[in-house]
Every structure is written in structure tokens, then in C-alpha cells.
Amino acid sequence: MQNYDISNKVLEFANKYGADEAEVFLSANQVTSASVRRNLIESARNQQSQGLGVRVVKDGAVGFASTNIFNRLEETVKSAIAMAKIRDSDGDWKNLPSNGKYPEINGIFSKKVNELELEDCISLTKEMIDGVCSFSDIIAPSGSFSRMISNQLIMNTNGVEVEEKGTAVSGFIDVITTSDIPSTAYDFRISRDMDIDFYGIGKEAANLANSCKNGVSVESGQKDVVFHPFAFSDIMESSFLSSIEADNIQKGRSSLTGKLNTDIAARGLTVTDDGILNGGIASSVSDDEGTPSQSTGIIKDGLLKSYIYDSYTAGKEERSSTGNAVRGSYTSTPGVGTRNVVFDHPASDIISEIKEGVFVTNVIGAHTANPISGDFSVEGRNAFVIKDGQIEKPIKSLMVSGNIFELLRNVKGAGDDVRMVGSIITPSIWVSDMNVIG
């Protein structure tokens, strides 16, 4: 059965069993990947997944069920309706989205990526390893290449019918020096098109591990810290992004509740949630419940301008959705989540402006942050001393702690090295008064 036929069948069953509204989210993905183990390609994989989630509304209550067994569609729909019947009618529930005007987005599907053969995947993986091996005493313990082709169809009883195909390629490599005291690093790139320098991924990772040999210790204190896009995006994802989601605002689980149109960040810092960014990893014509994607200004020049909404949280405030319904997979109901998040700040040669500070390439432990209070404490990795406008010695180990909302107010500048770290797009960010423990 084709995707449309399957989805139509689900909507028919929903109608037959008395649903007032119904929606099918069907996704079919194919991932081809190769894994690196100690400088060799250890394996190749081909993973196919296809399944659907059905959301039904019955007497103002929502039910959900999912399956990948397409001869159990009727049972799945019945189960979703049974779930709805258990719930009380929800006064805040309005409707499933209706058919809207969908934007045109470029660079989501690449013919070249779609047509990659296994042999191509293997040779791109080899390029990463070659990049690492351009340094004699560094090896790649692990790494991976992957190519994804995704296909998504959303249909509902209010006329939404939106299908989209996407592609993505990514390369990831871990490296370690073979010296007595090992030094590690990694590098990672992802794109929807064939524009990644895979050799460069290996070489940059190796170069970083190489420059981190013989680290020194630093004194503890309040310092200027420059966060590489890897470190900055990791911290933001764990401690900031959930605070702009409308469900957290409405439930009192965000420190940004009631802060609209107030200064929450340094002047110069602009943050945009962008579902229509050309070539963006989280770009698509619609969100995961069929609302047209859009670009939403979150912070403009330090001022908090908007939260992000799906149709349910938007309905609660009698406003429209910002196209931020997101699902982890077809097995989950949509919830509010960010799309591509773009951090923007006037760029300058920030290192040269810093007399004393540290540069942190990546961090471990960001996910241990307290996303409500915004407090975080992370171990800085591949970090360097900044002295008199220059990057100097590598730092053996340090911890950086603070509060994300204070950090946003203490942003002093940004580099010109804007990078797409998954769905977060940011340059290196210079922050003053960070708490560094050496």
C-alpha cells in the first residue's frame, strides 16, 4: 500500500469509530551509514523505518496510538479512540490545523545525496580517516558517516495534506593522540547537500587534539570566556531553548514567563527560530502537525519578542501557532519544540580584543543543566588560554559554571565563524564574568 492509501484508510477507520477529528503522521526513513573503528571501516548499515501515528479527537479529548504494522491499522485507530475516551474533555483544545499556505524552501532535498551509492559512502568515510592520518601520532578510534533520506506525510480531516522529502549527510570523527598522556577531540558536520569537506573533518579534529597536548592548569576566578559554536550550542540546547517554549511558559516552568518585551540579553544579540531556513536541518514546509513553517524573532537586540507555539498552546492564548509542533518520531504526539535556532551578533576579531580569558571548544555535561533556573556547570574540553589578544597554551582541565540568563546579558561579542551545529546556527560567542574553576 502506498503512503496516501494507508493514511486515507486510517482516516476512514477514525471516521467509522466516531472520531470528531483525526490526523495521520506517517514517516518513512532510510539511513545508510558506515562506521569507523580504529582507522578502519568496520561496518556498513542500511536501516529502514516506516510507521505512523494517529491522533484522534473525540468529545474534546485527544487520543493517540502508533504502529509500524500496517495490517493492524484498524486496531491502532480503535486504541487511539479508547485513549481519548479515558480523558476528560479539554476546554483548551481548539482544532487540528487546517490547510494553510505553505512556504517554498530551498535546499531540503538533494538529488546527489539521494543517489549516493554504498561505494560513495565508503569513500567519503575513508576521506575522514585520511584527514586524521595526515597527523602521524593520531588515530580515529571511532567515527561515522551517514546519509538519510526521509519521507513524511501528514493528513488530517480538516484538509491538511502535506508531503515532503528530505536528505541529509553527516560525518563525525573522534580522535585521540597516541602520546603517553592522551589528548582527544572530535569534529562533526551535517548538511542536506553534498557540500561537506570530509577530509577537513578528520584533519580539523586531529589538529585540535594535537594542539591540546601538554595542557596547563589555570587559576580559578571570574573570567572572559569565548565559547566555540560546539560549546555554545550545547549549553544553549540544554539550558535555554526549553524556556522559550509556550507550554513551559503557560505551566510556569520557564524563567522567561512574563518577560516579553523586556531586555533579557545583551544589546546586539538576536535569536531567531527559523523553520524555513534554506538548507536548514530542521527546515520543512510544515511543522509536525501540518502548520506552515515560518521564521519567528525570539530575541531582537536583547529584547525578548516572542515565545514559540504549536496549535494547542496557541489556541490557549487565542493566537496562531508559530509552526513549532515537533515530534521525536511517529511514535509520539507533537509537542512544542524549536526548529532551526539562529544566533546572530555583530562579528569582530574577538580574540584580539581579550586581554585575559579562556577559549572553550566543547563541553561535557551540558545536559545536566537545570533548564528552569538556567544554572549550569560543565567541564570545558579542548580549551585554551587567551592572553593579550592571542590564543596560547591548551588547558588540561577546567569547569565553567554560571546561569544562562546572566550569560546572555554578559555577551560581549561574536566571531565571524558562523557554523551550523545541527539545528543551531551560531558563531563563537564571547561572554564576560564566567565562573571558571581550574
Binding site: 568496520e42 556498513a44 504494522i69 571511532s142 545536566t368 560543565v378 567541564e379
Partner: protein, 444 residues
């Protein structure tokens, strides 16, 4: 082109239900039916994997996996893999299910979550969320060496979190329990006490001050010490990481790497959340002494790593239809002889770190970082003020050597462990540990 000489097939069938209650109201209720298979093929030193969901084309999946393995071998031949020999497992140690969760009406489960939420909502709590989950998983394993075995496992669990707010700041308290058992877990009134404790933690943390960072002696509570055993030691003992050059424990078997008081064990045969009767390669599960009396005794193995390094396999695991990876199960620091009072007295002045908000580890360099849920200042052996935002970081081997006393109050906690993009159920635990010197992160 060479043909693959080995393949295996894991067929997985599952059914799961989850319920999420937010501030006493049903936020999400979700049922999933799924099936699919993961197939591996080995050609000399190259692996091919396929996985397909919901399709019954196992033969096609085997064919593709074999082709992938041959292709990789042709374009990028690796070192020949010799798998440790196969032995059919005995599936005779399955946990008993006293009350099948599928026989309990959903309404009753919703009531249970409401009870938990009410118990967590003490004075000062501004919101709560409670979740319930149940799953039944059937695994059928076959391979080209004639293996044919299967098991069915039921897992249930709950999580509760409570948020306290004074308008200006927020603090969270969390408790959870997941296990390989039936609905009888929820007949124990002790779970309501857990919910109360989540509420109390959040409220207490709101009134707590921030900790001062620095180096010094610490006591770790069983939960945080268990996270250390799992994250810092357990991962480094996974033989795939050892072989790829990402483990600080490589080439150290037989070496005294810890205080002689330290014993760290991985045991998938225990009826805890990390239990399994046989692993993802159809091998019998068994207990492994990772560290015995301070000496590194064994790594955790798959058939491939056991074939290379020697040792017994039985720690290959996978999530759903994904490719098997060397993983832990139930990992813990074994009991010692000390009680908490003795440890506090020995500590004198220092900090007592309790609970966890997770952590991360660099197994290659042997460096870790864990955030505790809370800490207490200890002065003259007396537990004093509560502090928040405390973390523990350092060097795995240094901390292991710095263990001064091991408690006699082992406690396990359940959770999920992520590796290679796959999450599998695990548990970890420890008695209280006294560490002579550690780096505690906080504010200046």
C-alpha cells in the same frame, strides 16, 4: 568477492503504553504496537547490518546485510574477526510477573499518577508531572550457527518531578523507579513516599544556597556513587572502547587501579532494570567482576571483543532493531564494611554529595563530570546546610585510588544509558563512598 560467513537475526515484537500527567491532568496517553528485525552479517573483518521495521521480509534483510558486509570487505578490508564460540543459552531465570499490567484498566493507572502528583504537591510546589510506562518485549534470536532462542520481558516504571518556585527562581525534585516486574510495583505504598520526597527536595533546594567550588574530601551517596561506577568505570570497561583506543583502562588487566576496598560488578542476571536472560548475540548473561579488591579484573565483552581479547561474552545489547553494542546491565560498587556515621566522622569537614542530574565522561582520557542533585556541608562530622548546583569532576583513576571507606548500604537506581545513539535499560548502584580528594564545582 568474498561471501559472508556468519549472520544472525533478532526479531523483536513489542507493545507499550505510556501516560503523562501534568499538574494532575492527562497530558499524553500513548500506545504503540511495533515489530521489526535487525540482521547482521560478517565477511572476514567487515560487518553489514540491516534493520527494517514492520516488514516481514527477513530473507531480504539477510541478503542485504550479507551484500553490505561483502561490499565493505571489498572496498575497505579490515582485520579478520574471529567470534568467540557460540553456546545456546538457558532461559530459566526470568523474573516473575505477579500482576500483568495489561490486565489493569488504564483508568486505574491514571488514578495512580494522580496519587503520586498529590503526594509530591507539598507546600511550596508550583507544578508536578508524573509519568507511567509499561512495555512487553518479545525477542527471538537465530543465527547461521543454528541458534534459536527467545524470551519475553515485561517492564514497568514511573517518574515524578515536582517544581518549587518563589516567583524568582525554580528548583526541581525528581524520583523514579523502573523494573522488570509487573504492576505489583505500584501496590507498594513506598512509591508514595518517593513522590513526597521529590516535592520535599524541590522545596528544600529553593531555600538552599549555592555551593562553593574547590578541592577536598567528599562523601558520595549511593545514587551518585552508582553513577560514578557506571559512567566513569563501567563505560571504560566496555571492550569495544578498549579495542578502539578510547579507554583509560586499556592494557591494565591485573593492575591495581583502585583502593583495595573497591569491588565493581556488572550483573545482568539480577532482576533489576538492566536484566536480560541472553544478550543481543544470543549468549547467556552472566556476572562480571570488573574490579576485584582494587585490581582491574575483566572488561565487558561481545563475541567479537572476547574473540580478540579473551574473556567471556554476554554484554552485547541493542535498542529495538539496532546493531548490538557492548553495554552494561546492572552495575554496582559492592558493599564494604563502614557505616555512614563512621564515614562522616572520618570526613570531619567536607561536603556530602547526593543524588544526580546526570553526567558525562571522556573514557579515553578518564575524565568525568557529574552534577549532584544536592549537597550538604559537613562540619566536625555533622551534616549541616543544604547547598545546590554542585558537581563532581575529576580523573577516574585518581578517584578510584582516593576511596577511603566503602559503606555497607548498597542501593540500586534504574535508568537508561545512551551509547552509539541507542538507549537501553540499566541500573546502577553503590553504598556510600568516602573519597579523600575530589574537585567539586560550584560558584566561587
Amino acid at each position: 568477492m568474498r561471501e559472508s560467513e556468519f549472520h544472525d537475526v533478532r526479531w523483536v515484537e513489542g507493545e507499550s503504553t505510556s501516560i503523562l500527567l501534568d499538574n494532575g491532568k492527562i497530558e499524553d496517553i500513548n500506545t504503540n504496537y511495533g515489530n521489526g528485525c535487525g540482521v547482521r552479517a560478517l565477511c572476514d573483518g567487515s560487518w553489514g547490518y540491516t534493520s527494517s521495521e514492520g516488514v516481514d521480509g527477513i530473507d531480504a534483510a539477510i541478503k542485504t546485510a550479507r551484500e553490505l558486509a561483502s561490499d565493505v570487505n571489498k572496498h575497505s578490508p579490515g582485520e579478520k574477526v574471529t567470534l568467540a564460540s557460540y553456546c545456546e543459552p538457558n532461559v530459566d531465570n526470568l523474573p516473575s510477573i505477579k500482576e500483568n499490567p495489561r490486565d489493569v484498566p488504564v483508568e486505574e493507572k491514571v488514578e495512580l499518577l494522580k496519587d503520586l502528583s498529590n503526594n509530591a504537591s507539598c507546600k511550596g510546589i508550583s507544578s508536578t508531572s508524573a509519568s507511567y510506562s509499561e512495555s512487553t518485549l518479545k525477542v527471538h534470536y537465530t543465527n547461521s550457527e543454528g541458534a534459536d532462542c527467545e524470551y519475553e520481558l515485561t517492564r514497568v516504571g514511573f517518574a515524578i518531578s515536582a517544581i518549587a518556585s518563589d516567583g524568582a527562581s525554580y528548583q526541581v525534585g525528581r524520583e523514579s523507579n523502573f523494573d522488570v516486574c509487573g504492576y505489583e510495583m505500584f501496590r507498594d505504598p513506598g512509591i508514595l513516599e518517593k513522590a513526597q520526597s521529590a516535592g520535599k527536595t524541590a522545596v528544600d533546594l529553593l531555600g538552599a544556597r549555592q555551593a562553593k567550588g574547590g578541592k577536598g574530601p567528599v562523601i558520595l551517596d549511593p545514587e551518585l556513587a552508582g553513577v560514578f561506577a557506571h559512567e566513569a568505570v563501567g563505560h571504560a570497561s566496555e571492550a569495544d572502547l578498549v579495542l578502539e583506543g578510547s579507554s583509560i583502562l586499556a592494557d591494565r588487566i591485573g593492575e591495581e587501579i583502585a583502593s583495595p576496598l573497591v569491588n565493581i560488578i556488572d550483573d545482568p542476571t539480577l532482576h533489576k532494570f538492566g536484566y536480560y536472560p541472553f544478550d543481543a548475540e544470543g549468549m547467556q548473561s552472566h556476572k562480571t567482576d570488573i574490579i576485584k579488591d582494587g585490581v582491574l579484573n575483566s572488561y565487558l565483552h561481545s563475541r567479537e571483543t572476547a574473540g580478540k581479547l579473551g574473556g567471556t561474552s554476554g554484554n552485547s545489547r541493542s535498542q529495538g532493531y539496532s546493531a548490538p553494542v557492548v553495554r552494561m546491565s546492572n552495575t554496582y560498587v559492592d558493599n564494604g564494611n563502614s557505616n555512614l556515621d563512621e564515614m562522616l566522622e572520618e570526613l570531619g569537614d567536607g561536603i556530602y554529595l547526593a543524588g544526580t542530574r546526570g553526567g558525562q565522561v571522556n573514557t579515553g582520557e578518564g575524565i568525568f563530570q557529574f552534577n549532584a542533585e544536592k549537597g550538604y556541608i559537613v562540619e566536625n562530622g555533622e551534616i549541616g546546610d543544604l547547598v545546590r548546583d554542585v558537581s563532581l569532576s575529576g580523573n577516574t583513576l585518581e578517584i578510584l585510588k582516593n576511596v577511603l571507606l566503602v559503606g555497607n548500604d548498597l542501593k540500586m537506581h534504574s535508568g537508561r544509558c545512551g551509547k552509539s545513539g541507542q538507549a537501553v535499560p540499566v541500573s546502577d548502584g553503590s553504598p556510600h563512598l568516602l573519597i579523600s580528594d575530589a574537585l567539586v564545582g560550584g560558584v566561587q
